[in-house]
C-alpha cells in the first residue's frame, strides 16, 4: 500500500536560512502520525511544506520531494495544489478564535468549502454542513449554522474548524496543535473526535503537538523533530517503551506522571537554537547527557532501528 503523504528528504529554506534538513515521513490512510518537538523545531514549517504553502511565508523547498497520493506536489500547477488544499487535504489550525471570519455566519463559512471543492449547490452544501455539524456532536446544528463566531465557545469553534476541514471530503487532515488553545476537558473531546474520524472514515491524520501525552494516547507513529532535523521516528509503542534518541527520552520525561516523586522532573537544560546558531555535528549535542566529541563534529545519519529510524551516535533503547 502506498502512503498518502510522503515527504522524502525534504529541505526547506527561507531566504538564506536553511530551516529544515532532510525531513522524511509518511502518513498512511487510517493512521495518525504525531509530529513533536519544542517550539522552533520545525513542526509547523513541515506542515506548510506538506501543503505546498511555503511561498506564503517566503519559503521554498531546496531539496527532496513531497508526494501526495503518489503525485509529486512540485510537478503540480498552482491551481492543482489549490484544489488539494481544502479538498483532499483538510487543515485544522491551532487557534479557532482567529480561523473563522468574524463577520460571516458559521453555516456560510462551512458551506463554501463543499460548494468550491465538490461543486455542490447552495441547498446541497447546507444539507452537508448540517450533517457534518451533527456528526461532530454539535447540538442544534441548524441554530449553530445561523450563529456568528463570537456567539460560540472555543471548543465549539474548533469543531466548526474541523467541520470546514471535513467539508471538502479530505483524505488527509493536517492538524497544527488543534487543542492548545482549549480547556482540558474540551481538549479531550476534540482529540477523541479527531481519533474517531481517522478510525471510522479511514482518513490519514498528521497531528502536530508538543504534548507527548497526546501522542501516547492517540497516535500510531511519531516523528520527533529537533532544530529542523529528524531525531527519531517509529511506532508509538516501542518508542515510549524504550526511546532510542536522548531527546525523545527527555521530551517524555518532561510530563508529570501519576505517582512521580517530587524533584524528578528536571526538564531539558538550555533551549532550541535558532537557525543562525545551529551547532555543528548533532544539533542536540549541547543539551545532551550522552554527548561525546564525535557528536559535536559529525552529523548522525537517520538509520533504521527496529521498526523505526533514529539519528544518534549513542542511540539507546532496544534495537
Amino acid at each position: 500500500m502506498s502512503a498518502l503523504l510522503q515527504m522524502d528528504e525534504v529541505s526547506v529554506a527561507i531566504g538564506t536560512a536553511a530551516l529544515l534538513d532532510r525531513i522524511s515521513l509518511t502518513v498512511e490512510r487510517g493512521q495518525i502520525l504525531g509530529l513533536v518537538g519544542e517550539s522552533g523545531s520545525g513542526k509547523s514549517l513541515t506542515a506548510m511544506a506538506a501543503m505546498g504553502l511555503l511561498p506564503l511565508i517566503g519559503g521554498r523547498v531546496t531539496g527532496g520531494a513531497v508526494r501526495f497520493d503518489g503525485q509529486d506536489m512540485a510537478a503540480m500547477t498552482d491551481s492543482q495544489r489549490r484544489g488539494l488544499r481544502g479538498g483532499r487535504i483538510g487543515f485544522v489550525t491551532q487557534n479557532p478564535m482567529t480561523a473563522l471570519d468574524p463577520v460571516q455566519r458559521i453555516g456560510a463559512q462551512v458551506d463554501i468549502v463543499s460548494r468550491l471543492h465538490l461543486g455542490l449547490s447552495r441547498a446541497a452544501a447546507r444539507a452537508r454542513t448540517l450533517d457534518l455539524l451533527t456528526q461532530l456532536r454539535i447540538p442544534e446544528a441548524a441554530a449553530v449554522a445561523e450563529a456568528w463566531p463570537h456567539q460560540l465557545s472555543g471548543g465549539m469553534k474548533q469543531r466548526i474548524v474541523i467541520a470546514m476541514a471535513l467539508a471538502g471530503e479530505p483524505d488527509l487532515i493536517i492538524a497544527d496543535e488543534p487543542t492548545t488553545a482549549l480547556d482540558v476537558t474540551v481538549q479531550a473531546q476534540i482529540i477523541q473526535i479527531l481519533g474517531s474520524l481517522v478510525r471510522d472514515r479511514g482518513l490519514a491524520l498528521l497531528l502536530i503537538t508538543h504534548d507527548m501525552g497526546v501522542v501516547a494516547q492517540v497516535c500510531d507513529r511519531v516523528a520527533v523533530l529537533y532544530a529542523g532535523r529528524m531525531a527519531e521516528e517509529g511506532p508509538v509503542g516501542p518508542i515510549f517503551a524504550a526511546p532510542a534518541h536522548p531527546y525523545t527520552a527527555a521530551l517524555i520525561g518532561c510530563i508529570p506522571q501519576e505517582g512521580m516523586a517530587k524533584g524528578t522532573l528536571r526538564g531539558i537544560a538550555g533551549a532550541v537554537p535558532s537557525a543562525a546558531a545551529f551547532p555543528p555535528g548533532c544539533r542536540f549535542h549541547p543539551r545532551c547527557p550522552r554527548a561525546t566529541a564525535e557528536c559535536s563534529s559529525t552529523v548522525p545519519v537517520l538509520a533504521a532501528r527496529g521498526a523505526g529510524r533514529v539519528a544518534c551516535h549513542h542511540a539507546g533503547g532496544a534495537a
Partner: protein
C-alpha cells in the same frame, strides 16, 4: 496544621458587564464565598478551567482587586481593612509571578532595572550585588543584567519574573499559571527551579493552574474550582477524587504511556456562561451522576473537614 499563614474567609467578587445605552447590565460572581487556609511552607494548588475564578482568587488574595465580600487574613492581619500605606508595607512579604513573561516585563527596562523596581516602590535602597545574586538564584548568568527582555527566551523571561518576585524576600508567592505559555521542556525547568527555591527559602506558594497533572506533581493540597466556587479540596496531591468534576479533570489528562491507553470519556457539553448560572449545582448539566436534587439545590462544601466536597452524590 497550626496557625496558617493565610486565612481566606467567605471571599466573593462580583463583576458587572454591559449596561450601555441598549443593554441592561449583567452581573456575575467570579468568586463565590470561598474559604481556605494556606499553611506556612505549603504549596497549595488551585485548579480549574477558564472562567472558574482561579486568577480572580489570586488577585483577591494579594488585594490587587478589592473583594465584594469576605476577608483575607495574612499572618494575623486582615488585609481587607489595611490602609494604602499599610498594604504597601505588607506587600514586601508577598509577591506574584505572572502567566505571560512577554507582557509582564517592561520592554524598555534592562534586567537590572526590572529587579531594582520592587526596592524603588518600597522606598528602600537597592543593595549592591543584589542583581547578580537574584539572577544567580534563578539560574541566569550575572552578565545578563544589562540585557533587555526582548533578548531573552520565554523561559529566561519567566526566570526574571521569578527573580523579581523574590527580590524583597517574601514569605508568600502567588504563581498564576507560571508555565502556561512555555514549552513542556521549559515548563519542567521552571517547576524544578520553583521547587528548589521553595525548599531553600522556605516559601509558601499559591499555585494557580489549569493542569491537574502538573498541580498533583508540584503541590501538597489541591483546591478544585468550578464556575467561581470551590467544589473539592484534596488533602494530598495523590488523594482519590470525590467530586465528579475532579474525576473528569483527572480523566482528561493524557498520560505518556501508550500501553495503558485510557478510553477517555470526555465530559459532554461545556462550561455554562457565568452570567446565566443554572439553579442548583453549576456542574449538574455536564455531570454523569446528576439527579433532580442537583438541578434544584446548590450543594455546600461539606463532609470531612480535611477533604471537603460540594456534591450530593460524591464518588
Amino acid at each position: 496544621m497550626s496557625d496558617p499563614l493565610i486565612r481566606i474567609e467567605n471571599l466573593s467578587r462580583r463583576f458587572q458587564s454591559g449596561g450601555g445605552l441598549f443593554s441592561a447590565p449583567r452581573a456575575m460572581l467570579a468568586v463565590r464565598d470561598v474559604s481556605l487556609t494556606v499553611g506556612r511552607g505549603e504549596a497549595l494548588g488551585v485548579v480549574g478551567e477558564s472562567g472558574c475564578g482561579k486568577s480572580t482568587l489570586a488577585r483577591l488574595v494579594l488585594r490587587l482587586i478589592e473583594p465584594t465580600g469576605g476577608r483575607v487574613v495574612f499572618d494575623g492581619t486582615d488585609l481587607t481593612t489595611l490602609s494604602a500605606g499599610g498594604m504597601r508595607r505588607m506587600r514586601r512579604r508577598m509577591a506574584m509571578v505572572f502567566q505571560d513573561p512577554y507582557s509582564s516585563l517592561d520592554p524598555r527596562y534592562t534586567l537590572a532595572s526590572v529587579l531594582a523596581e520592587p526596592f524603588r516602590v518600597q522606598g528602600q535602597t537597592f543593595p549592591a550585588g543584589k542583581v547578580a545574586e537574584l539572577l544567580e538564584a534563578v539560574g541566569l548568568p550575572a552578565a545578563m543584567a544589562t540585557s533587555h527582555p526582548h533578548q531573552l527566551s520565554g523561559g529566561q523571561r519567566q526566570r526574571v519574573g521569578i527573580a523579581r518576585a523574590l527580590a524583597l524576600h517574601p514569605d508568600f508567592v502567588v504563581l498564576d499559571e507560571p508555565t502556561a505559555s512555555l514549552d513542556v521542556s521549559i515548563q519542567a525547568q521552571i517547576i524544578a527551579l520553583l521547587s528548589d527555591l521553595r525548599e531553600r527559602l522556605g516559601l509558601t506558594y499559591l499555585f494557580i493552574s489549569h493542569d491537574l497533572g502538573l498541580v498533583r506533581y508540584f503541590c501538597d493540597r489541591i483546591v478544585v474550582m468550578y464556575l467561581g466556587a470551590v467544589v473539592e479540596i484534596l488533602p494530598q496531591a495523590q488523594a482519590a477524587p470525590r467530586h465528579p468534576y475532579t474525576a473528569a479533570l483527572m480523566q482528561s489528562g493524557f498520560a505518556p504511556d501508550p500501553v495503558h491507553r485510557r478510553r477517555i470519556e470526555p465530559l459532554s457539553g461545556e462550561i455554562p456562561s457565568p452570567f446565566a448560572l443554572p439553579p442548583g449545582c453549576a456542574f449538574a448539566g455536564r455531570c454523569p451522576r446528576a439527579s433532580d436534587r442537583c438541578r434544584a439545590e446548590v450543594p455546600a462544601l461539606s463532609g470531612d473537614p480535611a477533604h471537603p466536597v460540594a456534591c450530593f452524590h460524591p464518588l
